[in-house]
Symmetry: C2
Subunit: 414 residues, 2 copies
């Protein structure tokens, strides 16, 4: 079989589109701040819609704010093939995380159109709502709602740090993109393939262009709330204080000690740590901090996570502490057939591929529960991601899109 569609992938166009989308929420340091349901995400969606409309694709959105661009197949009633990722970013994110999956999907469809190939099944490019989980916690909300893993009502009520709910964010998005019609949430899907930058150093270090993702490392998230008592920094005695910051810093240090493994496989991160009232001469009354814990072995992940409440309680001193489990995602493995298909497409395109575990979470996690799912990784510079310095090469991005286009064509034929 020849790679007829892959040859139509336009490396320069794909690169230019990344640079163009990076203007929505661009930061001074060369990254992006385009958080979920923000005006910046809305304007990025509008730009992508412009490109897609010119190709005859139809935009739609569902009640969870997921955003779809559909290339109608010759058999419109057949379950579609989905591809995509997300357009939201971390507050100091990069130009490629998420965006690549959406633009590689669009590029694949554009290549098919250029090759005058009309797939039997419709192909839908999707930008899932709030993958990052930085504005609204937890992440991957849109794909979770799509897969029925999280009730829509619960999602709608979640609020950001400023008190704005997801429901209000969705209303703002609707107002910013009024012409996009609504579609039903969920529905049958033939298969899902997500292209993404690796966000780790392995492909680059090993010299491969394509990562055939074997599965996703498990992740558990927690929120720890430490409650003490405000007091005057100059007058209150140490023995009378209930200093929430001292207790919280002790908890973090104790957790770090327990999570330490010589093999450096456990991923333990306290990324958010918010102090009240956060004034220099007031003993802090409360600290809320986040825990992000990951491990490829579900049993280890489970047991390490289960120890968190007891470790925090032991370090609370005169303060009170509440440890809440927010999300648990066990490690998962993608179906061998999807991995074989991606490997075969990489071979057809003529790029070197290797199997790789995803250390990061992706919307593919939830789609995996809905339909046969696979992921394609491309290298990113020095493995740096969730960082304004995140970088990838035009050539690698194009190679990944070539493999994706071939895989989508194959899946949409069946």
């Amino acid at each position: 079989m020849s790679a007829a569609i892959a040859s139509r992938i336009d490396e320069a166009r794909l690169w230019e589109r990344h640079m163009s989308i990076a203007r929505h929420g661009a930061t001074a340091a060369g990254g992006v701040n385009r958080q979920a349901l923000s005006p910046e995400e809305a304007s990025a969606r509008r730009e992508v819609t412009g490109w897609a409309s010119a190709l005859g694709l139809k935009a739609s959105t569902d009640a969870a704010g997921n955003f779809f661009l559909r290339l109608e197949g010759t058999d419109p009633s057949a379950a579609p093939v989905l591809t995509g990722s997300h357009l939201d970013s971390q507050p100091t994110g990069g130009k490629f995380d998420g965006v690549y999956g959406v633009l590689a999907g669009l590029e694949s469809v554009e290549a098919m159109i250029a090759a005058k190939v009309r797939p039997r099944r419709s192909i839908e490019i999707v930008a899932w709502m709030n993958e990052e989980g930085s504005r609204f916690v937890p992440g991957m909300m849109g794909s979770a709602a799509f897969a029925g893993a999280m009730p829509l009502e619960e999602i709608l009520g979640i609020r950001d740090a400023a008190g704005v709910s997801v429901a209000e964010g969705l209303a703002a998005m609707k107002q910013a993109c009024p012409e996009v019609p609504e579609r039903a949430l969920g529905g049958p899907v033939k298969a899902y393939v997500e292209a993404h930058i690796e966000q780790g150093p392995i492909l680059e270090r090993e010299g491969f262009t394509i990562g055939i993702v074997t599965g996703i490392q498990g992740k558990r998230t927690f929120r720890v709330t430490v409650t003490g008592e405000e007091a005057h920094a100059g007058t209150s005695l140490r023995r009378d204080r209930k200093d929430a910051l001292l207790a919280a810093t002790q908890m973090v240090q104790a957790l770090v000690a327990v999570m330490h493994d010589a093999e450096d496989v456990v991923k333990f991160t306290v990324g958010r740590f918010t102090v009240q009232p956060n004034a220099p001469s007031v003993v802090p009354s409360s600290v809320v901090f986040s825990i992000d814990l990951r491990h490829p072995d579900s049993a280890v992940l489970q047991s390490l996570g289960d120890r968190i409440p007891e470790i925090c309680a032991a370090q609370a001193g005169p303060c009170e502490v509440k440890s809440e489990k927010l999300t648990t995602s066990m490690s998962l493995e993608f179906p061998p057939a999807m991995r074989q298909l991606i490997g075969a497409c990489a071979e057809r395109v003529g790029v070197r591929s290797m199997e790789i575990l995803s250390a990061a979470g992706h919307d593919a996690r939830y789609l995996h529960t809905v339909c046969p799912t696979g992921m394609i990784f491309v290298p990113c510079k020095d493995g740096i991601s969730h960082n304004e310095a995140e970088s990838a090469t035009a050539s690698d991005l194009a190679d990944g899109a070539r493999v994706l286009a071939e895989a989508l064509l194959e899946l949409s034929r069946d």
Copy 2:
């Protein structure tokens, strides 16, 4: 000598005025959030001005945003006696901290007017700009500028967390209170007496109504900036991470250990701790935290403070750390003559007084460098301050005002 003026102090009026001022920036939990140069502080100033104008006092403000209400003496050219405190609060402050000094001053003057006593020297009630130092760092800015301890130009350029400068805050205050004429910064002062709640538990515990403040405990403040590198919580290896939060929490724990004294005299507080980007799945790239260190012995204060940079540097791990000294205020002692005067006035009024060291800083620190200065403390419930639960009794507030009124009359005669 009889306490002729003291008998005119109106306990109910003084209490009502506290409750009335507490409406400006009132919080749901019964405290106030009335930060320096905020619209809430402006409206509090307008209310106080209304009461003062009805008594014939003249309002004015200087280039540092200090706010004065002047009762003209029979000898207007004689250096005035100053009294007052501040109207700004911590973000979750109480109803009495600062406000009491201003309202007790106003009550003293109202008592003189009611007694038809016209002092020789003018008496000026002052609300100093930004005593708290929570919006703009450092605190006591207005009195520092008045005393020439900090150049006005430097103060004007300081910005709050939202990027608003003191100069912009002053312009907003001017716009909110357009009818208040400007006066020169500084000038001769005969004496300064500041009434304040104790903000500690000693008077209440010992059963005294009046604290004759002997001096102010020294204080040093620092800002520590820890710089690491953002990374993805799921993919970055522990050995590659430069986690600013882990380094900062280690620093805090190491500092706590060094500052620990069995006698519980050292006051060490990390009140502000701000993390970037503060997102749950991003390894923190930076933490900025504040240190507030106090000790009544200037030598101990100096040597403990000097150890901070080395302790932080030793805990930095793969991160960079910068420790900046912000302010140093050595311990000070008020003149015996002022303390004796306050003691004599307490005796004349018939309330029990004791000598007490101020553990908190006050604007009196800077006035002490300008003129003979003294302070009068009254008890506050459970020693709780810088807290929305801060409380004091109407009776104690009135007794403090009686002692203040007698002292002011005495000082203004001379």
